[in-house]
């Protein structure tokens, strides 16, 4: 998730820095001290990943450590053609499908929970803390428990049953918490106004609540997708015989000794950035569309 926050900072920062830009020249020494600290922070954040990206572009002589040996896309080709590197394509496929399913379920349930929790109800505190409880439970233990439970019930563990459930225990609380934050800025008077103007409950949801909350719903979807796509601890004991991508990468680190491992890292990062970019882009688009005259 660090990539997300870093990305958000980049998109949000420029206007504000422009607005409060001090006169150039006499900056206090603290400015340079803090700037250095920040540069070191960014380096620590991205340095390790950048090493991987650079090393993935070596040619056929490449090894797992610096120095760089030549430049080519050899290991990317190798990644998708060689069988010995593992089932990259299949696991990637499964991970994307799983992430999409998790995203849809997370968005729908978080949205409904957000609607439900606007009013107090009997036992709401218990429900809320039970949900938060699953966030603090260690992922490996939770995954192990899920696997054991499936075994005890005589069910086969697989990525679309047990792993899906284990991942939802992780993405749902996050999704609901984000939704609560989004919902807290929703004015109940909008519901009443819609009712006053003759809208049915259904029309109120589709014409008022969903469009008003759209940016927040995209944020929940982004959380759901990235948390699922990256998920390792909970999936380890629950994915069954077929691996998801993080599991595949992990098993590759144990037996693949070529830069195609790094190429895989580069490819998955690019995909992550595309997903994040698309999400943030759609939020910006929604806000832009509201700026223009548009029939919602």
């Amino acid at each position: 998730m660090s990539a997300v926050t870093a990305d958000m900072r980049d998109t949000i920062a420029p206007p504000s820095t422009k607005a409060i830009a001090p006169s150039k020249g006499n900056r206090p020494w603290t400015f340079y001290a803090l700037a250095t600290l920040f540069a070191l922070y960014v380096l620590a954040l991205y340095g390790p990943m950048i090493c991987i990206y650079i090393l993935s572009f070596q040619d056929i002589r490449g090894g797992l450590v610096f120095p760089m040996k030549g430049q080519s896309l050899h290991w990317f080709v190798d990644l998708f053609t060689q069988v010995r590197t593992g089932d990259v394509k299949g696991s990637f496929d499964r991970s994307i499908k799983l992430a999409v399913i998790v995203t849809i379920i997370t968005v729908v349930i978080s949205f409904l929970a957000g609607l439900g929790f606007r009013k107090r109800f009997w036992g709401d505190g218990v429900v809320f803390y039970m949900m938060i409880g699953s966030l603090v439970a260690p992922g490996l233990v939770l995954g192990l428990g899920t696997g054991l439970l499936f075994q005890a019930l005589g069910l086969n563990a697989s990525w679309y049953t047990s792993a899906l459930g284990a991942q939802l225990s992780w993405t749902l609380p996050f999704g609901v918490l984000v939704m609560f934050a989004v919902m807290s800025r929703y004015n109940r008077a909008w519901d009443e106004a819609a009712y006053d103007l003759g809208a049915s409950r259904w029309q109120t949801i589709w014409l008022v609540i969903v469009p008003v909350l759209a940016p927040g719903i995209v944020a929940v979807a982004l959380f759901g997708f990235t948390l699922s796509y990256d998920e390792f601890a909970r999936s380890l004991q629950t994915a069954g015989s077929l691996n998801t991508l993080p599991l595949e990468i992990w098993s590759m680190t144990l037996n693949v000794t070529s830069p195609s491992l790094y190429a895989l890292g580069t490819v998955t990062t690019i995909i992550s950035f595309i997903v994040i970019g698309a999400s943030l882009g759609s939020i910006v688009l929604i806000q832009k569309r509201r700026g223009r005259a548009a029939e919602g």
Binding site: A193, D196, L197, L207, A293
Partner: protein, 377 residues
């Protein structure tokens, strides 16, 4: 959709949220079709709850709400043909001015072309044509209010309900929008019910002013009635502009009675036809602040003034066309004289001066005693 008239009758309307205390306690009221009615009272007096019950956003715990001859309890706002303007306007933040106004037509399934045409006509009526494509966040408070008004009016309601519509605006705009509301009410020819806690707003706008306290109606009547002839001490003090004095009845003689006063001779009050007063009763009376004359001790009282109370000037506030002089005439209550500016500066008083506060006997009015049961309206 049978409701064609906008006359409203509340019969024994009660509302309780917790089943113990009544926020609205047995309210009976008739509002004529096409009237401008203002509910006024301190916060928590139940005025907004009454509005929301008429609007269909709350159900009464007991009683009937009749609009145009039909009991509307349980009906949706659209079926009641009411529309509400919310306190913070509650404009949909994601829709432009035009789409906000067209919303009611959209949920009715009117085609896009038709509803946008109707919305544009309404936008013209509230003079927002150049803002039609803006979002609510890009409008000033006054413009937002006009959008809210147009959005409510497009449903062609018989009754428009306004919940403190001017409270979010600054003073100048408030006076301006006050006139705009009155203009819209005349143009639409429908009943307006307006909730406010500002006395000036209520008496400036309303045909019918309803003063409330603790879920009950204290007085309902024309603005001038309520202001000039308050029913009891509460209304007199709440509407302002009156000095309230109390005392025990000392003498009753035909057309007047005399109120005992510790520090002076007693106050002579004309007896009204219906009022029954006997010696020993504790009575409140009211005298308008602008009926008080201040005379320096030793000078002759103006004609018709039988009572004069010695007072010390506590404070003086210049108000433009009059001067507000605060006096210690009554031990625990406020006593204020509104002296016309020119009269005041002919012989200016200063703080600490001793004067005689006096008024024409006929301008004193007895108020209903607090123990007397609530009058039916």
């Amino acid at each position: 959709m049978a409701i064609e008239r906008g006359d409203i009758e509340l019969a024994g309307v009660c509302k309780s949220f917790d089943g113990v205390t009544n926020v609205v306690d047995g309210v009976n009221l008739k509002i004529a079709d096409g009237a401008y009615c203002c509910f006024i009272g301190p916060s928590g007096c139940g005025k907004t709850t009454i509005l929301r019950m008429i609007a269909g956003h709350e159900d009464p715990s007991a009683g009937e709400i009749v609009i145009g001859g039909q009991n509307v309890v349980g009906l949706a706002p659209v079926q009641r043909r009411t529309a509400m303007m919310f306190q913070s306007y509650a404009l949909f933040p994601h829709l432009t001015v035009r789409d906000n106004i067209a919303f009611a037509l959209r949920v009715r399934g009117m085609s896009r072309g038709d509803r946008l045409r109707a919305a544009d006509a309404m936008i013209e009526k509230v003079r927002l044509t150049s803002f039609a494509d803006r979002l609510p966040a890009q409008l000033s408070g006054g413009q937002q209010q006009r959008v809210a008004l147009a959005r409510a009016a497009i449903t062609e309601p018989r009754v428009l309900l306004l919940d403190e519509p001017l409270s979010a605006l600054d003073e100048q705009l408030r006076v301006q929008m006050r006139q705009e509301l009155r203009r819209m009410q005349r143009e639409l020819g429908i009943t307006f019910i307006h909730v406010t806690h500002t006395q000036l707003e209520a008496i400036a706008l309303a045909d019918l002013v309803v003063v409330m306290e603790h879920g009950k109606i204290k007085q309902a009547g024309a603005a001038r009635d309520v202001y000039a002839h308050p029913h009891d001490r509460y209304v007199a003090e709440f509407m302002g502009g009156q000095n309230v004095l109390s005392g025990r009845v000392e003498k009753v003689n035909g057309a007047s009675f005399t109120l005992a006063q510790a520090a002076s001779d007693g106050i002579e009050v004309p007896l009204q036809a219906r009022a029954k007063v006997s010696i020993g009763d504790q009575v409140d009376i009211a005298v308008r602040r602008d009926d008080i004359a201040l005379v320096r001790p030793g000078q002759a009282l103006p004609e018709g003034c039988a009572t004069s109370l010695p007072s010390r000037v506590l404070a003086i506030e210049y108000q433009g066309y009059f001067v507000k002089v605060m006096l210690d005439t009554v031990p625990d209550d406020e006593f204020v004289a509104y002296v016309p500016e020119r009269t005041f500066f002919a012989d200016p008083l200063t703080v600490g001066d001793v004067v005689m506060a006096t008024w024409a006997t006929c301008s004193a009015r007895p108020l209903a005693q607090r123990s007397v049961a609530q009058r039916e309206f």
